[in-house]
Symmetry: D2
Subunit: 332 residues, 4 copies
Amino acid sequence: MSENPVSGRSPARGDLAHIGHVELLTPHLEQSVRCFTDVLGLTVVGTAGESVHLRGESEYELSGLKLTASDDAGIGHLGVRTRDAQALARCTAALAANGVAGAWTEGDVGHGPAYAFRAPGGHLVELYWETERFVPESPAPGMPPLARDRLGRRGGAGVDVRRLDHVNLLAPDVARSASFAREALGFSLYDEVVEDDGSVSGAWLSLGPRPLELVYALDRLGATGRLHHVAFWVDTREEVLRAADIFVDHGVPIEVAPAQHTIGRSFFLYGFEPGGNRIEVTTGADLVLDPDPPTRTWTAAERRRGVGWGTAFPPSWTEYGTPDVSANLHSL
Amino acid sequence: MSENPVSGRSPARGDLAHIGHVELLTPHLEQSVRCFTDVLGLTVVGTAGESVHLRGESEYELSGLKLTASDDAGIGHLGVRTRDAQALARCTAALAANGVAGAWTEGDVGHGPAYAFRAPGGHLVELYWETERFVPESPAPGMPPLARDRLGRRGGAGVDVRRLDHVNLLAPDVARSASFAREALGFSLYDEVVEDDGSVSGAWLSLGPRPLELVYALDRLGATGRLHHVAFWVDTREEVLRAADIFVDHGVPIEVAPAQHTIGRSFFLYGFEPGGNRIEVTTGADLVLDPDPPTRTWTAAERRRGVGWGTAFPPSWTEYGTPDVSANLHSL
Amino acid sequence: MSENPVSGRSPARGDLAHIGHVELLTPHLEQSVRCFTDVLGLTVVGTAGESVHLRGESEYELSGLKLTASDDAGIGHLGVRTRDAQALARCTAALAANGVAGAWTEGDVGHGPAYAFRAPGGHLVELYWETERFVPESPAPGMPPLARDRLGRRGGAGVDVRRLDHVNLLAPDVARSASFAREALGFSLYDEVVEDDGSVSGAWLSLGPRPLELVYALDRLGATGRLHHVAFWVDTREEVLRAADIFVDHGVPIEVAPAQHTIGRSFFLYGFEPGGNRIEVTTGADLVLDPDPPTRTWTAAERRRGVGWGTAFPPSWTEYGTPDVSANLHSL
Amino acid sequence: MSENPVSGRSPARGDLAHIGHVELLTPHLEQSVRCFTDVLGLTVVGTAGESVHLRGESEYELSGLKLTASDDAGIGHLGVRTRDAQALARCTAALAANGVAGAWTEGDVGHGPAYAFRAPGGHLVELYWETERFVPESPAPGMPPLARDRLGRRGGAGVDVRRLDHVNLLAPDVARSASFAREALGFSLYDEVVEDDGSVSGAWLSLGPRPLELVYALDRLGATGRLHHVAFWVDTREEVLRAADIFVDHGVPIEVAPAQHTIGRSFFLYGFEPGGNRIEVTTGADLVLDPDPPTRTWTAAERRRGVGWGTAFPPSWTEYGTPDVSANLHSL
């Protein structure tokens, strides 16, 4: 990945810091909020209009998840924080130089002005720098205030997830989406799946050493702007196992029981929140410390056996996304 | 351990099935109840007079813990279930034959008539057969009713302990207390600590393959009827580690941070509930499958290094029990 | 379950202590030994003729597994230890009274005289009392000798399993096999699966509080004497997950990746050792403390969704056993 | 942290990628190698002169640890990889501009030319870009080659650590060492401990989101160039607990049994390798995703209670480092 001047067509590497939050759309706002609080263990930090903002205990920002009432499930937008104000300026300039139209918003609960644009694939992305850091009302009685401040409370409700981890988006042209993420946004491409016909069906991208932060998977219905899943982090594999028990106890449908990914070596559990969006509870991914690793190219055959222990994925895995446009297609 | 006829001075081996519940006394009933529910994760199943009955999710009986308001902390009584009605009759006959005075009570929340007596060392013990099995109001939506019934709900509050595990009693004459437990009650003695002068300072007793169910430790103040601690079971070491975080977050004082016992190979965390009683969160003990294992005799020196990784215990460990009679002694 | 006099048609409850060892037959002895040592982590403690005896680190007896060269895979015999010499006498008398023919053997590596007979279903069972307890050559340098002696060494090769846990046998008439186990051998029946036509297709039996020690499953090919699997214990779910990685690294085929049973709440991993026998790595089962629990009867429908998180089992699970007689049937 | 031009007195942020390896000195090379292979689980990848190079299974480079025979224990040097060749040039130019003398070496087993200099505090640091990536001889039989390549083998010997994690150096002037690391090398300072007199006694520095990669602690003997400890990563807390058992079994002295740090929220075990150097097995630290977080300043009082569960550290913790110069001081 090449280095670029400040005002060029690409941002400098490191200009984007991390994905800070995601907005999920849900036709059942109340039930979705209850699932993300009582089952996943997030905390409501604010409401505005038809939206509810939530936070995981180890997130330094005020909110990592925004739930918005909508006719259909899906992703509203993706919020990416830049590393400083200059980086935000460089990124917006680079987008303009690349002919990507965007517009400033005045910000939202938890963060300042954001530059919004649609990435290839149709997903809305917002870049922002100014943020509101979470400040706990009172420290834990038995812990130094600083520790409480930084580390978050344990033993919260349900799964007690720590923070937003990554987002997996469905796109009709994965190669194009991944190229844009690399060239216009400065993501690194760590892994990709190339089908026998040479087309790319999966791309694992990251802004740092985490092996995946933004994933593009092929939208086999050819639709745009759809979501495959949003993943939340826990610290241990035991917590993922416990999450499966909790999903069962609370009636949250499990799509794939806890098992091991090969790509990224993350450990996972997939289910569906009441709005219909797929959610993942995940942990354990190996960090990519190599500053310039060669992209790993997986064949489709390798990918089919792609989870570490041979776990088979159900057909819904490759077929279902939100919004669920398959009904529309079937009715044509 | 010898076998005995039905009407002899000893019960048949296996006549006592397991310790079913323990009654803790607390000068701060409300705070104690809150700690056992919000922090430990037990559920209140009934109240009667100045007592509150609680249950862990994997207990098959209605209640494994009774909290009773009292001027001082300590243990009210220990409830031991027999394996059937005949076994209860054999045990009471054997106690009478051994000159142990006792009396029948009409039962309590969750169980039927009980035969109450004081064991050497001054602790009140109750034997009972009839019990009320817990029946969940409704099965978990995603689990077969039988599984829900047997296995209990996960993801409850706080530490989410599963059940009462064992009780550690302070006694002025450990050897005598242990002998009584073996001969009059049918316990097996798996481990003991013998001091350099030949006296016994610790005895680990069990009614089955669990390596410890009733422990006697020397009361160095020479008092009778005192409690060292009550232990609650979780299924994994990760949950013990998580429990330590939760104790810190809720202000429950930690006496000994999570570490490994050598005797029994159990993993532990010690703290104090608001009434002043020491509590343990524990897991992992190796089962003793040998039906007639030789008792392991530990020297005091071996015991001093007795935890598996060299963890040092604070002085309170050997000095403090409930009720805390040291103040009285100091004021003499 | 009724109590019986010493010379009756049934043994007294508790006369059998636990399953002490199992003999597996293998057409590839050398590879099987290598798998059980290098991958599972057992240690060879002796060889005799075409057999190799192995031991897990927390087994108190000399050997829990005997591997014997044979034309076909399968189970050679099951060794069950009695609780004392009198119990062995009672059991053999009861078998004779029930018309079960048996014969004494002079013992084997690690144990004394054994009474051998075929249980309904065609499996060879041996009852024994005299055993050789394992004595380590030298204690661990950093641990008291007694602890070393009792607890076993950690960090052994591969999965580092602790001990034999349970055996699952295929039988053409599960109800009859289970009845015999209860009435002639004193097992408790904790769970059973009853098909829609009233036939029993699975029975979970135990000699103590472990929820399963001997399981009978329906042999759908109607054969006798076959094995479904042998299970080995590890102490934590993390070790089961690690075992899956190790299986992959060593080329041990995984049949079912780590997941959660509902019956017994045990956590599992299934694979095949080089001889063709199915093996399980397991942990976590809840103890059954109730001395006389009602048998849980599962419907076939409940059983089909019987693993705790909805994990689907492959067809091989219900079809394959050792010896693999399906080829013979197919060639008819 | 400010951004700098290419030829200025500071490198650009991100110019240093990560600490790639560390060289430990040992007066008992053979025993040290045996400890790092048999107990820690590293693999020897090369020897040269009096040095042995080792590798953890998830390290992408050929070697993360070099052991060199020496009269005294201690640290030989610290190897830091730059993010590309230009970054290496910028860094060396900045060092020269800051008056830091250095010299090029022609490289070593596993990496190319390195620029060596002494940082304030007296420790030798080498910067390098060219590296040799590890290529496995053959993939695991049951895993796609790419996965095997990236993820490493599981079930290796002993603790089976994954990779070098961080280095803790003793320095006579922590504030000065930390300033240099920030300004001349581009480290971020995430946490520091400030004593009541205003002096800095601890500084936690990182080149990325890991909360600590290089730590400076006060050398209370005023010596220079000494080592507090080197830490190796495992993926789960269970593996740290298992490591403690393995240390005991192998006679590796445990200094502090497994417990929880507050700073960084890492989970740890400390012991001593046969050469006398302190080693840590660690996992679990929270990532710092904030690109520009305020440094947390801990008071000495907060630090004294600084481990998460109140675990007390022994006096050796603050007194001992390698080489152990205390004997010299005592003999004055």
